[in-house]
């Protein structure tokens, strides 16, 4: 222990003659290679996104005939593409504003509701004693990996016609036909169920880590479970709640499959991802419009990501097993 730290911290004696031979110079030059490689990779990773960002501000003919990197020598920029992408009239329109609102209408409830429901459940798994607690929790963790493809067919049937059970010739409605197919409600309701396992898992892990003494003390003072939950656990769990909220926000905002399944036949209800995919299919060569539309759909997640990256990383580190 002592030798290791001493050797590491002791400064090089000044009496040693500085080595400036050719070998040392080569060695030093080689030492900078990792830095070059790192920043080379960073550039490589950023170029594709930079490409659509720059192109979205270039004039239609320019985008279609010259590479976006020529913007360096010919810096002529326009906001026309964004006007076309947002507008709801005209041949070039993509009506992205409406779909932006749809995305918001799906994402907000699909983020808040699982947060509340999961907080109740996570508290119970962490601090209540009841039969079957461990098995239920393991079951929840197991559900993390279940691919959502397993749910889509039955859920669509459920939203179209409800669920009915026939026993002894008598048909019972287990779940009513609420006419949910093709509605935004169907999308966020579904996301609640899909988001819950991860939410419960993350919040449970955080809540079990809270100091037992504090909770025991509250209990001795006569607080019951709802009081401990609202007054003690919830305020203490804000970091974990924030981590999950960001995770779920990005997940729902970026979701394509769930939205396509339930509102795919209802273009006016489509969120940005579904709209962008259909634009890519129908107007795949209109790069001036596609780049602007793509950037509109990724702008909000990027803002959230860069401003709240700390929480996102925390959520990722705590439970990177989502299916």
């Amino acid at each position: 222990m002592t030798t290791a730290t001493q050797a590491a911290t002791t400064p090089v004696p000044t009496a040693v003659r500085p080595r400036v031979g050719i070998g040392y110079r080569i060695h030093k030059a080689l030492g900078t290679i990792p830095t070059f490689v790192l920043w080379g990779l960073v550039l490589l990773w950023s170029l594709p996104t930079m490409g659509i960002f720059v192109s979205s501000f270039r004039d239609e003919t320019a985008v279609k005939t010259t590479g976006w990197w020529t913007v360096v020598s010919d810096p002529e920029l326009t906001l026309q593409n964004y006007q076309d992408a947002f507008s709801s009239t005209g041949a070039a329109s993509a009506n992205m504003w409406e779909h932006f609102l749809n995305s918001i209408a799906i994402t907000v409830p699909a983020t808040i509701l699982p947060l509340a429901i999961a907080a109740f459940a996570a508290y119970a798994f962490a601090w209540m004693d009841f039969k079957g607690r461990n098995w239920l929790f393991v079951g929840t963790v197991a559900l993390l990996a279940v691919p959502i493809q397993m749910s889509l067919i039955p859920l669509l049937q459920l939203y179209v016609g409800g669920a009915h059970l026939t026993i002894f010739g008598e048909t019972f409605t287990v779940f009513p036909d609420l006419n949910l197919n093709g509605t935004i409600t169907a999308v966020w309701l579904t996301h609640i169920g899909f988001g819950l396992p991860l939410a419960i898992f993350l919040l449970h892990n955080y809540m079990t880590g809270l100091p037992r003494d504090v909770i025991e003390a509250a209990r001795v003072d006569g607080a019951n479970h709802p009081q401990i939950f609202w007054r003690l656990i919830l305020p203490l769990s804000v970091p974990a709640l924030a981590a999950f909220a960001i995770f779920q926000f990005l997940w729902v905002w970026n979701d394509f499959l769930v939205a396509l399944t339930f509102v795919g036949n209802e273009p006016s209800k489509a969120p940005l991802t579904v709209r962008l995919a259909s634009l890519a299919g129908s107007r795949g060569q209109d790069w001036h419009l596609l780049t602007a539309a793509a950037f509109i759909s990724i702008a909000l997640p990027l803002v959230v990501f860069f401003s709240l990256q700390r929480f996102f990383v925390r959520g990722l580190l705590a439970g990177s097993v989502k299916g």
Partner: protein, 448 residues
């Protein structure tokens, strides 16, 4: 504006209902010991509403909501008037809140998870054993249909792997690496060490080359395509993530560099696909290239290529998008793990004369192997159900189809739900072993 107000209202109502019901039921429970009549009325109303809803087995037309409301009123009366007159013992009433409370806390979660995940999973498995009308059980017929379809699964052409040049190259690399490793062990008289960098890296390269050979021979067949996706994304995202995490560790501007590599994680698969379609864009050789890749290719003297249509290598260009996204994920987890390796260990090794490369290979890597396992299992789980990228890039054409895309088309476009269910179950079966691994790892972590 109307939509915004609609949204705000529906969100407020939904959140209010969930939290309000939770608080109300908890309050009711608290009333059981002292003011039993309140509890009896409330419990009666809730039970009555549920029974009323269930009794309304016909259609849930608008008037249908009268059933649960009527049930609630009748239940409240029965509870408040009849049950409240004959309250159970004080002992029972005192114990009741603690008994029922766990159910109140986890009930809502169980309800949603049950409806959205558990029941559908069971039903999908059930559907996969039914015929197309869903009327008769057909055993494994749907699965037989899948495995007999040469577009989905076949071994035809597997023999070509053995004669391909990449395979021969892989054999050559293996022979050379094994010879050198054994030779070195004999010369240095320290025993043969297959965990040294040279044999591990060259054998890893050989395996990758064999998979590339397999892609050349079996690419385009849906189930094989899925396996190629899993292999390439798991391997390359992990290796790239590890390399970047190691390079960035304590480098200047570390957090900025990591942010940029991590950024694609915030972009939807659909957005990423559009971004990369632009990179792969093709224009005839007579024009300027607008796609970055073709511009670079032409700059190097090649002819412009239609990257996403040229089989079978186009699958690799789609896979590259996923690697671009997931490398950031691998990097974040591995970087955190590398920073968690105790300094005493690495410092001691450096003092003893180990090079940085040796420290990384012999100390850091073994120390972070649990995280490596987490990263790889998570990547496999995510990639097995890959859908969006294939859908947006090619719609599964040009031999790039994968299971999830075929499942969606079969179930929802062709309306063959039962066969679609069988395809979904195949994805699920691929995930199950990883699910078990995850649970075992968590149990171990909980015990430690």
């Amino acid at each position: 504006m109307g939509e915004i107000i609609d949204t705000i209202v529906s969100v407020a109502v939904a959140v209010g209902v969930v939290i309000g019901a939770f608080v109300a039921v908890n309050q009711l429970l608290d009333q059981a010991p002292r003011r039993f009549w309140i509890f009896a009325t409330g419990a009666g109303a809730i039970l009555g509403a549920v029974v009323g809803a269930a009794a309304n087995s016909g259609g849930w037309f608008l008037g249908g909501s009268l059933w649960p409301i009527g049930g609630a009123v009748v239940g409240a009366l029965l509870g408040g008037v009849v049950w409240a007159r004959y309250p159970p013992s004080m002992h029972w009433r005192r114990r009741l809140p603690d008994r029922v409370r766990p159910l109140v806390f986890i009930g809502p979660a169980l309800l949603f998870v049950g409806i959205a995940l558990v029941a559908p999973t069971i039903r999908t498995i059930y559907l996969s054993f039914r015929d197309r009308q869903g009327e008769e059980a057909v055993g494994f017929e749907n699965y037989r249909t899948i495995f007999r379809n040469d577009n989905l699964f076949t071994f035809d052409g597997a023999g070509d792997i053995l004669t391909s040049r990449t395979f021969l190259l892989a054999i050559a690399i293996t022979v050379v690496a094994v010879t050198i490793t054994i030779g070195r062990g004999v010369v240095r008289e320290r025993g043969v060490d297959f965990t040294a960098p040279l044999p591990v890296i060259s054998l890893g390269t050989a395996v990758t080359l064999v998979v590339v050979a397999a892609l050349g021979a079996l690419g385009g067949i849906v189930i094989w395509n899925n396996l190629f996706w899993v292999f390439f994304v798991a391997v390359f995202s992990t290796v790239a993530g590890l390399a970047i995490a190691a390079l960035a560790d304590h480098a200047r501007g570390e957090s900025i560099a990591k942010s940029f590599i991590f950024m694609p994680m915030a972009i939807s698969f659909v957005g990423a696909s559009v971004i990369w379609r632009f990179v792969y864009a093709f224009t005839p050789a007579s024009n300027d290239q607008i796609g970055l890749l073709n511009a670079a290719w032409v700059g190097l003297g090649g002819d412009p290529q239609t990257w996403i249509q040229t089989q079978p290598w186009n699958t690799l260009f789609l896979i590259a998008i996923m690697i671009w996204i997931q490398t950031g994920f691998a990097m974040v987890l591995l970087s955190a793990a590398i920073k968690g390796v105790p300094h005493e260990l690495t410092e001691a090794a450096l003092v003893d004369g180990a090079t940085r490369a040796q420290v990384f290979w012999r100390i850091t890597l073994p120390q972070i192997r649990t995280t490596l396992g987490v990263v790889i299992t998570t990547l496999i789980i995510v990639v097995l159900k890959i859908y969006d990228i294939v859908k947006v890039m090619t719609s599964g054409r040009f031999s790039t189809n994968v299971l999830a895309n075929d499942m969606f088309d079969t179930a929802f476009t062709d309306r063959n739900r039962e066969l679609g269910a069988a395809l979904a179950v195949l994805i699920f079966v691929g995930v199950v072993p990883l699910m078990v691994v995850n649970i075992l790892r968590m149990r171990r972590a909980a015990q430690a």
